[in-house]
């Protein structure tokens, strides 16, 4: 009996143990389920956070990409604008170079013309030589006039002597006296004419000399002015040449 009770007690104890073990197992399973659920929730939360972060990062990237695209577009516009400006400047530079080249050619032409016109001094000197030729002719006429004046003076003396001789001849020389008087009158008129001619030659000498000296002095004035023009145009063409070379360098 006691053995039965013992067995029963053992069985009951075993049953209780089994029950306890079952309860314990069940409790452990419930804890494991709860733990798994918690972990799952944590994982879901982490996933959600990761998705949120990924979404934010994507938005940031998208924004950055938009900004870069905008900058790229701006850069492209700026490049196109600067390129257009560079083209315009290049065209303007070419136009300026062309203009400077034309101005240089013009300045060099003026310089050459001024240099060429300075040869006018030779023409003025030629006129001066012609003046000397004219005054030499005047001098020749003056000499001849002086000779004529001497002849007239001689004729006047001769006519006076003739008058004296006619007076000595008395009535016979009356006719000769009239002729001698007429010759003396003609000699006096000739002398007046000779004096007037001498004055004309003096005046002609002065006017000729003054006129040709004015031409000569005026020629020097023009030559000097042309020299100044030549020098200034030389300086201008030099500056233009330097600028043109600088622009092409």
């Amino acid at each position: 009996m006691q053995t039965g009770w013992a067995i029963a007690a053992v069985l009951a104890g075993g049953l209780l143990a089994c029950l306890g073990a079952a309860l314990a197992y069940r409790a452990r399973g419930a804890r494991l389920v709860a733990q798994a659920a918690n972990e799952m929730a944590a994982l879901r939360e982490a996933l959600a956070q990761a998705e949120a972060q990924a979404s934010g990062a994507q938005a940031v990237h998208a924004s950055d990409a938009q900004a870069w695209m905008q900058k790229e577009a701006e850069f492209a516009d700026a490049l196109a604008r600067q390129s257009a400006e560079a083209d315009a400047r290049r065209d303007a530079l070419r136009a300026v170079e062309t203009e400077q080249a034309a101005l240089l050619a013009l300045a060099e032409r003026i310089e050459q013309e001024a240099g060429r016109l300075r040869a006018l001094s030779g023409t003025f000197e030629r006129w001066h030589e012609q003046m000397i030729s004219l005054t030499t002719q005047n001098q020749d006429m003056r000499t001849k006039n002086h000779e004529l004046s001497s002849i007239v003076a001689h004729v006047s003396i001769v006519s006076l002597n003739a008058s004296i001789e006619a007076a000595r001849a008395g009535a016979a020389g009356r006719g000769f006296s009239i002729v001698a008087s007429e010759v003396r009158t003609l000699a006096a008129r000739s002398q007046q004419l000779s004096n007037s001619y001498r004055d004309s030659l003096n005046r002609n000498d002065l006017v000729t000399a003054a006129t040709f000296q004015d031409i000569q002095a005026g020629g020097k004035m023009i030559t000097a002015a042309l020299g100044t023009v030549e020098m200034l145009t030389g300086q201008l063409s030099g500056q233009l040449r330097e600028r043109l070379q600088g622009a092409r360098a």
């Binding site: 005046r203 002065l206 000569q216 020097k220």
Partner: protein, 177 residues
């Protein structure tokens, strides 16, 4: 056509040029207006004529001289260098000094070479239709008598004032102190 101060300026410029260029060895130079009208009698045998031309006027300077011993000695004439040549050189220097003074007021000027005429030709200056004619008796050294005639023909109004050379030099000296 030619203002009074322009006439006066030209005459003062001539006086200054004559006193510095017509004399040698620092001898005296007396200049007085010629007696009578502006056309003195042809008492000298030769005259050297020079012309200064500008855009608006021409100025003739005629310097008369006698070919005598005193004049030949003063201007250093020799057998190899006749008085005419020596005096033309002096006259050229005198006119050159006038040209130099005038160029300060008239940038475009030209001067001729000297030319020798008979002094009687100077009496015909009126034939040039001058707007100003002035004649002076010039005595250089002790006894060298010269004659000078200034003749200006203008084709436009001429007016300028030339500062007295002596005043300028004096002013320059004062600035040094």
């Amino acid at each position: 056509m030619i203002s009074a101060q322009a006439k006066d300026s030209v005459e003062r410029i001539f006086f200054s040029a004559a006193r510095t260029r017509l004399v040698s060895d620092g001898s005296a130079c007396a200049i007085v207006p010629a007696a009578g009208d502006a056309r003195p009698a042809p008492r000298d045998s030769h005259a050297v004529v020079l012309t200064i031309s500008s855009l608006h006027f021409r100025l003739l300077l005629a310097l008369r001289f006698r070919d005598d011993d005193v004049t030949r000695a003063y201007f250093g004439a020799t057998a190899q260098r006749p008085l005419q040549d020596a005096f033309m050189e002096v006259a050229n220097l005198c006119c050159g000094a006038m040209n130099q003074a005038l160029i300060e007021h008239f940038p475009d000027l030209g001067m001729s070479t000297p030319y020798l005429l008979g002094s009687a030709s100077i009496d015909a200056m009126h034939a040039l239709g001058p707007h100003h004619l002035a004649a002076f008796d010039v005595t250089v050294g002790d006894a060298v008598r010269l004659g000078a005639t200034l003749c200006i023909c203008a084709n436009a109004p001429v007016d300028f004032y030339a500062q007295d050379t002596a005043a300028v030099e004096s002013g320059g000296e004062l600035e040094l102190f």
